[in-house]
């Protein structure tokens, strides 16, 4: 007596179609999110344009991100520093007025981090600036970005490749970065 699996397949066919369409939907949803809502380019609370500041007016990175020279953390400028220029410059721009409002209310601006390393990585900006690295090597051409995008993956391979190429002393020791 022969046993046929055809009846079973007939029952499974609609289930298979549902799973298949569902999977296609999953891929579409996944890549749509990645394409249209990239986490690498967050929308900042105030649409600060690096194109205008660092590109058009050629303000050096370290003018605002002063601490990169001497601190592990590059930091973002205080509202006070923004107002250093914008007390006079472009005071009628709605964005600048927004900054001024924060200043007057002594309210910090909650900028969103674009480049963020995990907490178990020790990355001192000051050492990299002292070694003569351009900011752009890791951060990309920020001076052309209206809205800053994370260009580099900022993953361990990138660190190690560079440390190898530059022949950094102890550059590939675990404890150099993970301490």
């Amino acid at each position: 007596m022969g046993v046929s699996i055809v009846p079973t397949l007939k029952v499974l066919k609609p289930v298979g179609m549902i799973v298949g369409v569902g999977f296609v939907g999953l891929l579409v949803g996944y890549f749509a999110n990645a394409a249209f809502f990239p986490g690498t380019t967050p929308v900042q609370p105030i649409e600060f344009s690096h194109t205008i500041h660092a590109g058009d007016y050629e303000i050096p990175c370290l003018y605002c991100h002063t601490e990169a020279r001497r601190s592990p953390s590059a930091g973002v400028p205080s509202v006070n520093k923004c107002m250093g220029c914008h007390a006079i410059v472009a005071t009628d721009s709605p964005l600048v007025r927004e900054v001024a409002r924060h200043y007057e209310n002594a309210e910090p601006i909650p900028w969103i981090k674009v480049h963020d390393l995990p907490d178990f990585v020790h990355f001192p900006h000051n050492r990299h600036v002292a070694a003569g690295l351009e900011c752009q090597e890791c951060h990309g051409p920020v001076e052309t970005m209206d809205r800053v995008t994370r260009m580099a993956p900022n993953e361990m391979g990138q660190c190690l490749t560079c440390h190898r190429d530059m022949e950094v002393e102890h550059g590939i020791d675990c404890l150099t970065c993970h301490k």
Partner: protein, 792 residues
């Protein structure tokens, strides 16, 4: 294309939709979580994100005056350490000092001025503004002052030194009031009085533990809370380990083994309140053995006549040969140091007992020498007259309040409602004061009674300075600077006082706009008192360098100076029998309250770190307990966790029993610090406060509270609780950590030795042969032999 019906089509659309949604969320979950970069609107000075800035300042958690270095990042204080340049703390800091951060960031801080809305003590307050509150208060004060009723203002603060004390003094003198009081539970008033009587000056000398070869301590818990624990701990460590290869010998005499006692070579329990008699027994033996050859030898012989070994042994419970052994080793080991404090100093005969301890130092020639008692130069600045109030002075204040002589009480960072015995009636007397203003940082039991609360900064937000007392044998001054911007709408105590003075129109007398300017003004005098230094050409350079270093002063100690007590002093030496509140028949046990390791006198109870700090000797965390000797516990049929009522002539509280072998039978020890009704979420409703059952017994000479002079009885309530302990079992479980060795007499002074079981047993009045060393070794739950711990 297969035929597809409507039903299947909708199913597939649904499947696709669910899939797309799931895919979208999957992608979302793989993104970095959003982190913010929040810069300051206006950054603080010397601010650099990612780089720590250290500021030197002065710790105010207790009255020792340790120098601290505070690590700040992004304008926030992160860690407190000792300031290595400060001679008191030398880079070290105690647990309470470390947890100063939790005072700063405490969620129960008062965040702005408050005005009472409900009835007193109901804790109903409305928020107020500084402007209105200060204007009204200044107006009231000015009216009282011009009407000549300024004497009706009382100002009660915690222990204050330095120029803030001078400022308060000046303010009160302008008001025309002499009711300026500092109240600290732990203030060693009897030690000041004993030094005044014996040395002729009411100051604390420098106790040079570091260079001593023999420390004989009568109840002074100098590693725990006596005077300057960080400094003493450091000196003690060096005297035992780090010096020239000779380990100093250390004997501790106290009824309940403290943290300090646990570090001793020999721990001896004399009957409570008889430590001074023991000191005189030792003195008598030294004189008898020819250890003292002063011109006034006959006067000493006469004064010590009543302290023959047998009578001393009978009164103190310490065997006569132990007294002789202590006397001989103390006399022959030079330099030695006898110190007294704790329960010894806070008994009905406290001053006499501490004079007896001073006498011991004199008899063996340890005054004015390195490793002995070295006199401090006068403090670098600050008022000379002490405003520290003992119990009797506080009772006077309460009496003035009842009689309507106090119209306004300003209280600042002291908590007498908690720290005075209920029997003193201070809390009730507050009801008779028409207005109570509190400048305290926290809503403690005293501030809860206030009508107006003007909260002050913590010490980490204020300017101040300090001339530590006891000093370190040379002149030291330290500046305390704000290490962070104020967190809340609070003000520094000094600034509040100055602002009040200005609003009262006293600008000419108080020309300084704020405390910082007042300090600078005052430190000009300090600057000109020092030797000119070409590297410091002007005051501004001097001030900057002092603020940066956190400390200023000399660096070397100059011992020396002949000392001989007045003839009258020698004639007056003598220690009477201790007097307890409560008859022995009715109240069979002596209550021995002690400052707990972390909570101090209760001030540390609102700091979570201190609440979680296990007691160093018993390992108990949280709550209150009483410690009983196994013998006492067995007599009463009590075991660990049994809740008993502790009844004294003054009141009753309930606490669980902890069987603790290192306490005399007949003594009940209890840590101070818990039992708050207010003082924030971490402090209130934990344990009970043993101060509540203390009788209002004073040391007659000073009026200080004799907190070791209350007798109690224990009444089992039938309740049981599990005590929270770390370290598991207090038994040794065959690990042989505790050994009883027969060491006989110490082979050589300075060598660590172990007291014999017989000796230790005799010291606490147990009939040792009846119990026997074997029983003690047998790991029974009730290990009835007081132990000598050998560190293995």
């Amino acid at each position: 294309m297969p035929n597809i019906d409507r039903r299947s089509f909708l199913t597939l659309v649904g499947a696709g939709g669910v899939g797309a949604g799931a895919g979208f969320m999957l992608s979302e979950s793989r993104k970095h979580p959003v982190e913010h970069l929040v810069p300051y609107p206006v950054p603080p000075e010397e601010f650099s994100p990612g780089i720590a800035t250290w500021y030197n300042s002065v710790c105010s958690m207790c009255s020792a005056g340790c120098g601290i270095s505070v690590r700040t990042r992004e304008g926030r204080a992160k860690k407190i350490e000792g300031n290595p340049a400060h001679p008191v703390s030398q880079g070290r800091l105690c647990a309470l000092g470390q947890s100063g951060l939790q005072a700063l960031y405490n969620p129960d801080r008062i965040t702005g001025p408050l005005v009472r809305a409900g009835r007193r003590g109901e804790l109903e307050f409305d928020p107020a503004t500084w402007e209105e509150s200060l204007a009204e208060l200044a107006n009231q004060l000015e009216l009282m002052r011009t009407a000549g009723r300024g004497g009706g203002v009382a100002l009660l603060t915690g222990g204050v030194r330095g120029h803030l004390a001078s400022l308060l003094e000046l303010f009160m003198s302008w008001l025309g009031s002499d009711q300026l009081l500092h109240y600290d539970f732990n203030h060693p008033a009897t030690l000041y009085a004993a030094n005044e009587r014996f040395f002729g000056e009411s100051e604390l000398p420098y106790y040079d533990i570091e260079n001593s070869r023999y420390v004989l301590s009568f109840g002074a818990d100098f590693i725990g809370h006596w005077l300057s624990p960080v400094h003493h701990g450091l000196g003690f460590g060096r005297s035992r380990q780090a010096r020239d290869g000779i380990r100093a010998r250390f004997v501790q005499i106290e009824p309940r083994m403290s943290l300090t006692g646990a570090a001793a070579d020999e721990w001896i329990a004399a009957n409570p309140g008889t430590e001074g008699i023991l000191a005189l027994g030792i003195a008598r033996r030294i004189v008898d053995q020819g250890g003292y050859q002063g011109a006034d030898l006959d006067a000493w012989r006469a004064a010590l006549d009543g302290y023959a070994a047998e009578s001393v042994a009978e009164q103190t419970g310490v065997a006569a040969d132990t007294v002789a052994r202590l006397a001989d080793s103390f006399a022959e080991t030079q330099p030695g140091l006898a110190i007294g404090g704790g329960a010894t100093g806070n008994h009905s005969n406290g001053v006499d007992a501490l004079v007896a301890v001073n006498a011991l130092n004199h008899l063996v020639g340890n005054i004015g020498v390195e490793g002995g008692v070295i006199f401090n130069p006068p403090p670098a600045f600050g008022p000379t007259a002490s405003r520290q109030a003992g119990l009797s002075r506080m009772l006077e204040l309460a009496e003035d309040a009842r009689a309507g002589r106090i119209e306004m009480l300003i209280v600042s960072n002291t908590n007498p409602v908690f720290n005075l015995p209920e029997a003193a009636g201070f809390a009730e007397a507050l009801a008779d004061i028409p207005q109570i203003v509190s400048l305290s940082t926290f809503l403690d039991e005293t501030t809860a009674q206030a009508d107006l609360v003007l909260p002050s900064h913590t010490y980490l937000e204020s300017w101040g300075d300090d001339a530590p007392s006891p000093g370190v044998g040379f002149r030291v001054g330290a500046v305390s600077q704000p290490v962070v911007e104020p967190l809340y709408d609070t003000r520094a105590t000094g600034d509040i006082v100055l602002e009040l003075a200005h609003r009262m129109g006293l600008d000419l007398a108080f020309p300084w706009p704020n405390m910082e300017e007042y300090l600078k003004y005052s430190w000009r005098e300090v600057w000109s008192s020092g030797t000119p230094d070409p590297a410091i050409p002007d005051f501004d350079t001097f001030w900057t360098s002092v603020v940066r270093a956190g400390v200023w002063g000399d660096e070397t100690r100059a011992p020396g100076g002949e000392f001989a007590p007045d003839a009258g002093v020698v004639d007056g030496i003598g220690v009477g029998a201790p007097e307890f509140a409560g008859a022995e028949g009715e109240f069979p046990y002596a209550l021995h309250p002690y400052l707990s390791n972390g909570l101090h006198d209760g001030r540390g109870a609102n700091l979570p770190w201190m609440q979680e700090l296990p007691d160093a000797l018993t390992g108990v965390v949280y709550g209150s307990w009483i410690e009983l000797n196994p013998v006492t516990a067995e007599e009463l049929g009590l075991s660990e966790g049994d809740v008993v009522a502790i009844e004294s002539p003054a009141g009753s509280i309930e606490a669980p029993v902890l069987v603790y072998p290192a306490i005399m039978p007949g003594v009940v020890a209890m840590p101070i610090g818990q039992g708050h009704e207010q003082y924030g979420r971490y402090a209130h409703e934990h344990g009970v406060n043993p101060i509540d059952v203390l009788a209002a017994q004073t040391e007659p000479g000073t009026g200080a509270l004799a907190w070791a002079a209350t007798r109690v009885r224990l009444v089992p309530t039938g309740g049981r609780v599990d005590l929270v302990k770390v370290g598991g079992d207090s038994r040794e479980l065959g690990r042989e950590i505790v050994q009883i060795a027969d060491a006989g007499t110490p082979a050589a002074a300075g060598a660590p030795t172990v007291a014999s079981a017989t000796d230790a047993g005799a010291a606490v009045g147990i009939d040792v042969p009846a119990v026997g060393a074997e029983a003690a070794m047998a790991n029974t739950r009730l290990n009835s032999i007081p132990i000598t711990v050998v560190n293995t």
